[in-house]
């Protein structure tokens, strides 16, 4: 009988030279692999953290990776602590092309044994590193004062020196969902657009969006989705975000609001959604999206009673018309699929027990 929950949570990204890298959990290590042939073969795994520590890699938690402007490799993960839902956001970097990694550091100044989880990582065009996470310090303060505090908060930190030091902790927003991944999208001006599941009073778990800057400032906070999903529950189902050639924001997310429960796609206009569309069928889960110019790719998984189907929908006209396809399946535990854009093509990365680190081109 299978033992632990699938701890297949993993991430993949292309570097500037076109090599594909993946990070995943192996025991108490984050492992990194490189593929020079679009995921057909992978290098032997290297440990990112030499000394063992607990690694979060289930549900919406997974190690992340991103590249610096001179090929530095940056990796973050959540180190769960002993008390339920507590953790530390960890960071390590390689400045020698992934051969060796620095000893991991905790990126936040706050060191209480409380929630710091669901790390998100992005590097802007200037090479500044942004790490955002779900943080419960404000909820703890409220608890001491015997005041109510809905949800958690999102905090972030920034490194101007390629990960040698981090400055923060900056608060992005109060009252966010406690258990969903955060989407980060670097923009041309160096700011990072952030999309997360929020808790709008009293308990509506729709998404909010804001822009975070390297100086720690936050602007442009607005409600991004309008499903009115009123629930005190942990969806473990965060959004994904991408921009088209015109700078228009496209997203996929999950909600169980009254009108279109399930996975959905839409373009995030101020005050509303354009081109909203249900993603997949009743069992569609964990959508992700990527954009090349005005071509949009959405992937998700959908269990059919026997297998988890890997499904995709593609639009060649900026999300106006779509065609759907099945691109794979697995009869065992699987991670959430990810779609990546590289040199004009889309690739789907899916870590499954049966086929670890599989990569499928979309056409």
């Amino acid at each position: 009988m299978a033992g632990p929950r699938s701890e297949l949570g993993s991430s993949a990204a292309f570097d500037a030279q076109g090599a594909l890298w993946s990070v995943a959990k192996q025991g108490e290590h984050v492992i990194i692999r490189r593929s020079a042939d679009l995921g057909r073969t992978w290098s032997a795994p290297r440990f990112v953290n030499a000394a063992v520590e607990p690694i979060g890699a289930d549900g919406d938690a997974r190690p992340k990776l991103a590249f610096g402007t001179a090929g530095e490799v940056y990796v973050t993960w959540t180190q769960p602590l002993t008390k339920p839902y507590t953790g530390l956001i960890r960071f390590a970097r390689s400045v020698d092309g992934g051969k060796t990694f620095s000893a991991p550091v905790t990126v936040h100044a706050d060191r209480q044994e409380i929630t710091h989880r669901f790390d998100a990582l992005a590097v802007n065009s200037k090479g500044q590193i942004f790490v955002a996470w779900v943080d419960k310090r404000d909820g703890e303060i409220a608890k001491e004062k015997r005041e109510a505090y809905a949800g958690a908060a999102v905090y972030f930190t920034v490194s101007d020196d390629k990960g040698a030091t981090f400055k923060g902790d900056f608060k992005l927003a109060d009252h966010t969902c406690e258990c969903c991944r955060i989407a980060l999208l670097p923009t041309d001006d160096g700011s990072v657009v952030t999309l997360w599941r929020h808790v709008f009073a009293p308990n509506v778990r729709d998404h909010a969006l804001a822009r975070i800057h390297a100086d720690g400032s936050v602007d442009g906070f607005r409600r991004a989705t309008f499903d009115n999903w009123a629930v005190d529950a942990c969806p473990h189902h965060g959004p994904s975000l991408a921009a088209d050639a015109k700078g228009q924001l496209h997203a996929v997310w999950f909600d169980l609001g009254p009108e279109h429960p399930g996975a959905v796609y839409g373009r995030l206009r101020d005050g509303g959604i354009d081109g909203m569309r249900k993603v997949g069928g009743e069992g569609a889960e964990h959508p992700d999206l990527a954009i090349i110019g005005d071509r949009v790719a959405v992937v998700w998984k959908e269990f059919d009673g026997q297998k988890s189907q890997l499904r995709a929908m593609l639009s060649a006209d900026d999300g106006t018309t779509w065609r759907e396809m099945t691109i794979g399946s697995t009869a065992g535990a699987s991670d959430q699929p990810r779609v990546l854009a590289h040199k004009g093509r889309f690739y789907v990365f899916w870590n499954t027990r049966q086929q670890p680190f599989s990569v499928t081109p979309l056409s």
Partner: protein
């Protein structure tokens, strides 16, 4: 031969001791996999029951743990079945957490299959894994399912209806 028998006996005794220690410290979890729900339904044929999924990694789930014990003792004819969706490796934490509550009479299960889509599908194909998730099954096993905290205002009138007034005087 005697030595083998003796070692089997002492092994069995060891198991027994382990089991009793576990029950003294908290619940012993039954394994919940893709076949468990059908088995549960078969065993409870013709009887209403409550099935409540939770996780140690879910804040709102904790808030409702305290209510199950008293409800079970007030309505002893309607089984209340808790299922933790946490992996086997978390069972010590699960045990520790549940031992804080008086859950006498409540059944505790925990996931034993990491192909969790398969486990969920066997219960409810439209459930996407959000927690807490609670189902009320009537005698015909028609379900009423809800995500979010299982509020007493929803559960208790249902229990009262299903038990046909066989409520036991409140114990606490």
């Amino acid at each position: 031969m005697i030595r083998i028998l003796l070692s089997i006996a002492s092994f069995a005794l060891g198991l027994l001791l382990l089991a009793s220690t576990a029950s003294a410290a908290g619940p012993v979890f039954r394994d919940f996999d893709a076949k468990s729900f059908a088995a549960l339904q078969a065993r409870l044929q013709g009887r209403p029951f409550v099935l409540a999924f939770w996780s140690i990694h879910c804040d709102p789930c904790r808030d409702e743990l305290a209510q199950w014990g008293p409800l079970q003792r007030r309505y002893p004819d309607i089984p209340i079945v808790l299922v933790a969706t946490d992996p086997r490796s978390e069972r010590p934490v699960l045990t520790k957490l549940l031992s804080r509550y008086d859950l006498r009479g409540v059944q505790s299960w925990a996931y034993a299959d990491d192909f969790e889509e398969r486990v969920r599908f066997a219960v409810d194909r439209s459930w996407r894994g959000e927690l807490p998730r609670t189902y009320l099954y009537d005698g015909e096993h028609h379900a009423e399912g809800r995500s979010g905290p299982a509020e007493a205002g929803w559960i208790e009138p249902w229990l009262a209806r299903q038990s046909g007034g066989k409520k036991r005087a409140s114990l606490n």
